[in-house]
C-alpha cells in the first residue's frame, strides 16, 4: 500500500526539513516546496492527502494557495493544516483550513495531527 503523501509548503528551510523528517517517521511520503508560485504549479499535477501550508511565502501567499485548493473538487479529500506565527492571519484562515497551528509547531504535534487528518 502506498504511503500517504504530505506536501510541505514552507519557505523556512529548517522548518521544512523538520516537518519532512517528522512526517516521514510518521509514515508519510513527503515533498517540500518553498515558493508560493511553485506550489500552485505543483498542485496541478498531484493530489496530496495532507498539505502543511505556511502563510508567509514568496510570490504567492498561503491564503491564495488555500483558496485554490478549496475551489478545486480534486482536493476535496485533501486536509490542509495551516501553520503560522501570525495570530491575525491564523484567525482569517480558520474557516477554510482543516486545522490552524500556531508556530512554533512541534514534531509530535505535526506528526500526530497529520495522522488524525488522515483518519477523517
Amino acid at each position: 500500500m502506498n504511503k500517504p503523501l504530505a506536501l510541505i509548503i514552507e519557505d523556512e528551510e529548517d522548518l521544512a526539513e523538520i516537518y519532512s523528517v517528522a512526517l516521514q517517521s510518521g509514515g508519510f511520503e513527503t515533498e517540500i516546496i518553498r515558493d508560493g508560485q511553485a506550489a500552485v504549479e505543483r498542485l496541478t499535477g498531484m493530489v496530496p492527502e495532507v498539505v502543511i501550508l505556511d502563510l508567509h511565502l514568496p510570490h504567492v501567499d498561503g491564503a491564495h494557495i488555500l483558496n485554490k485548493i478549496r475551489e478545486n473538487e480534486l482536493f476535496s479529500r485533501t486536509a490542509v493544516m495551516v501553520t503560522t506565527a501570525d495570530v491575525q492571519l491564523a484567525e482569517d484562515m480558520h474557516v477554510q483550513a482543516d486545522l490552524v497551528l500556531l508556530k512554533p509547531v512541534s514534531v509530535d504535534q505535526l506528526r500526530e495531527l497529520a495522522r488524525r487528518m488522515l483518519r477523517r
Binding site: 523538520i18 517528522a22 506565527a85 495570530v87 497551528l101 500556531l102 512541534s106 509530535d108 506528526r111
Partner: protein, 460 residues
C-alpha cells in the same frame, strides 16, 4: 485591555477638555468684544450728540458774529457819508434774530448740558449788550442833526464793537469746545473703549489662533499615535515571526535528534538533547507569553467563534507538550467525556493558547506523577476545560494572586521554576474575553486543578 481602555478614555476626555477650553475662550472673547463694542458705540453716540449740539451753537454764534460785523460795516459807511440819507441800519434786524436764536438754543436741554457757566455768562452778556443797541438805532432813525447822528453812530459802533468782542470770546470758546469734544471722543475711545476694542479683537484672534494651534497639535498627536500603533503592530508581527521561527527550528531538530532520526545516540548525547529540548520549550513558552501579552496590550486580541472539534483542541495541546512531559518523566494524558458534543463553538486558537499555558504551567510545577487535560460538560449549558496535576500545589494565601501578571508563588522560586509570570494572567484574560470563568482548587503537596468554564453555544 483595561489599561488600554482607561488610557483611551483619558485621551478622549483630554481631547474633550481641550475642545471645551477652546470653546470657552472663544465665547469669552466674543462676549468681551460684544460688551466693549457696545460701550464704545454708546459713548460715541453721546459724544456725537454733544458734538452736533456744539456745532449748531457755534453756527448760531458765527452767524451772529457775521451779522454784527455787517451792521458795523453799515455804521462805518454812514459815518463816512453823513450827507446821504436814509440813515437806516437795516442789518440790525438780523442781529436781533440771531441773538434771539442764541438765547433759545442756550435754553434747550441738549445745549444747556454742554454750556459751561462762563458760556452762559457770555451769552447773557450778548443779550444784555444787544438791548443797549436797540435804543441807539431808534435814536438814529429820529430826525436829528448830522452831528447828533454822528455821535449816535459812534456810540452805536462802540456798542457793536463791544458786542463783537463778547461774541468773539464765545466763538473762541466754542471752537475750543468743539475741538475738545472731538479730542474727547478720540481720547475716550483710545483710553478705555479703544483699548477694550483692541483687546477684544486681539483676544478673538488669539482664540482663533489657539484653536488652530490646538487642532493642529491634536491632529499631529493623533497621527503620531496612529503611526506609533501601526509601527508597534508591524514590529510585533516581525519580532513574533523572527523569534518563533528559530525557536521552532532548534526545538524541532533537537526532538528529531532525540528520536534518533539522524542516527543513533549514546546515553550522554540523549540526555543532552533532552536538556536542550526542555530549555527550548521553556524559552518558547516565555516568548509566546510575552508576544501574546504584547498583542493584548496592542488591543489586537479579538475573539472569533467557529465550530471546532474538542478532540483536535486537546490533541493539539497534548501533542505539542508530550515530548516535554516525557523528558521530565511525567505522564501527560487527555480525556473527553462522552457527553461532550463532537463539535463545539469557540475560538480554537485562543483555546489552544489557554490549554497550552495551563498544561505548561502544570508540567513546570510537577516533579512526579501526571498531568491530565480534560474536556467535560459542567452542566447542561456549560462545557469545561480542566487541567489536573500532581505537582507542588499552591498555598491558599497565594491562590488569590495566581492570575496576576508577573506574580509567582515565591519570587525566590523563579530560579527553580523559570518563567515570566505571565502565563496564568494571559489565560485569565483570554478566558474572560471568551465570556468564560476560571477557577482553581489546590492542596500544597498534592496538586492543583484549574477549571475553565465556557457557555455552550449551539449555533453561530
Amino acid at each position: 485591555m483595561k489599561e488600554k481602555k482607561t488610557s483611551f478614555i483619558a485621551r478622549w476626555m483630554l481631547s474633550r477638555l481641550e475642545i471645551a477650553a477652546i470653546v470657552g475662550i472663544i465665547v469669552l472673547t466674543l462676549a468681551g468684544l460684544f460688551v466693549s463694542i457696545q460701550d464704545a458705540l454708546q459713548l460715541e453716540q453721546t459724544l456725537n450728540l454733544h458734538l452736533t449740539q456744539t456745532v449748531i451753537l457755534t453756527q448760531g454764534i458765527v452767524n451772529l458774529q457775521r451779522d454784527v460785523q455787517l451792521t458795523r460795516n453799515e455804521v462805518s459807511r454812514l459815518l463816512g457819508n453823513l450827507d446821504d440819507p436814509p440813515k437806516q441800519i437795516s442789518r440790525f434786524d438780523f442781529v436781533e434774530i440771531q441773538v434771539n436764536n442764541l438765547s433759545v438754543q442756550a435754553e434747550s436741554p441738549e445745549v444747556k448740558i454742554i454750556l459751561t457757566a462762563e458760556d452762559q455768562a457770555l451769552i447773557a452778556d450778548i443779550q444784555q449788550k444787544s438791548t443797549h443797541i436797540e435804543p441807539l438805532i431808534a435814536q438814529l432813525n429820529a430826525e436829528t442833526s448830522p452831528e447828533e447822528q454822528q455821535t449816535t453812530l459812534r456810540a452805536l459802533d462802540t456798542e457793536l464793537e463791544s458786542l463783537e468782542v463778547v461774541i468773539k470770546q464765545l466763538v473762541d470758546r466754542q471752537a475750543t469746545a468743539q475741538r475738545d469734544a472731538i479730542t474727547q471722543t478720540r481720547d475716550s475711545m483710545t483710553s478705555s473703549q479703544r483699548t477694550a476694542l483692541v483687546a477684544g479683537t486681539v483676544l478673538l484672534l488669539m482664540g482663533v489662533a489657539l484653536a488652530v494651534v490646538v487642532r493642529r497639535a491634536l491632529a499631529s498627536r493623533l497621527q503620531r499615535a496612529l503611526e506609533s500603533e501601526r509601527f508597534k503592530g508591524q514590529l510585533l508581527n516581525s519580532v513574533s515571526h523572527e523569534l518563533r521561527t528559530p525557536i521552532a527550528a532548534i526545538r524541532g531538530y533537537s526532538q528529531l535528534m532525540g528520536e534518533e532520526a539522524y542516527g543513533s545516540l549514546n546515553e550522554k548525547q540523549k540526555t543532552t538533547i533532552k536538556r536542550i529540548l526542555i530549555n527550548t520549550t521553556q524559552l518558547q513558552g516565555m516568548v509566546n507569553n510575552l508576544l501574546d501579552r504584547a498583542q493584548m496590550d496592542q488591543g489586537k486580541l479579538t475573539v472569533r467563534k467557529a465550530p471546532f472539534m474538542p478532540a483536535d483542541l486537546i490533541e493539539t495541546a497534548r501533542s505539542a507538550l508530550n515530548v516535554l512531559a516525557q523528558t521530565q518523566g511525567l505522564e501527560l494524558t487527555s480525556e473527553i467525556t462522552p457527553d461532550v458534543p463532537n463539535t463545539l463553538i469557540g475560538d480554537e486558537l485562543r483555546l489552544q493558547q489557554i490549554l497550552f499555558n495551563l498544561i505548561s504551567n502544570a508540567l513546570k510545577f510537577t516533579q512526579k506523577g501526571s498531568v491530565c487535560a480534560r474536556i467535560f460538560m459542567h452542566d447542561k449549558t456549560h462545557w469545561a476545560l480542566q487541567v489536573v496535576d500532581t505537582g507542588i500545589g499552591i498555598p491558599t494565601e497565594a491562590q488569590a494572586h495566581i492570575f496576576e501578571s508577573f506574580w509567582q508563588v515565591d519570587s525566590s522560586a523563579t530560579r527553580q521554576y523559570r518563567g515570566s509570570g505571565l502565563g496564568l494572567s494571559i489565560v485569565k484574560q483570554l478566558v474572560e474575553l471568551m465570556d468564560g470563568s476560571i477557577s482553581l482548587t489546590s492542596h500544597p503537596g498534592q496538586g492543583s486543578t484549574f477549571t475553565v468554564i465556557f457557555p455552550l453555544e449551539s449555533e453561530l
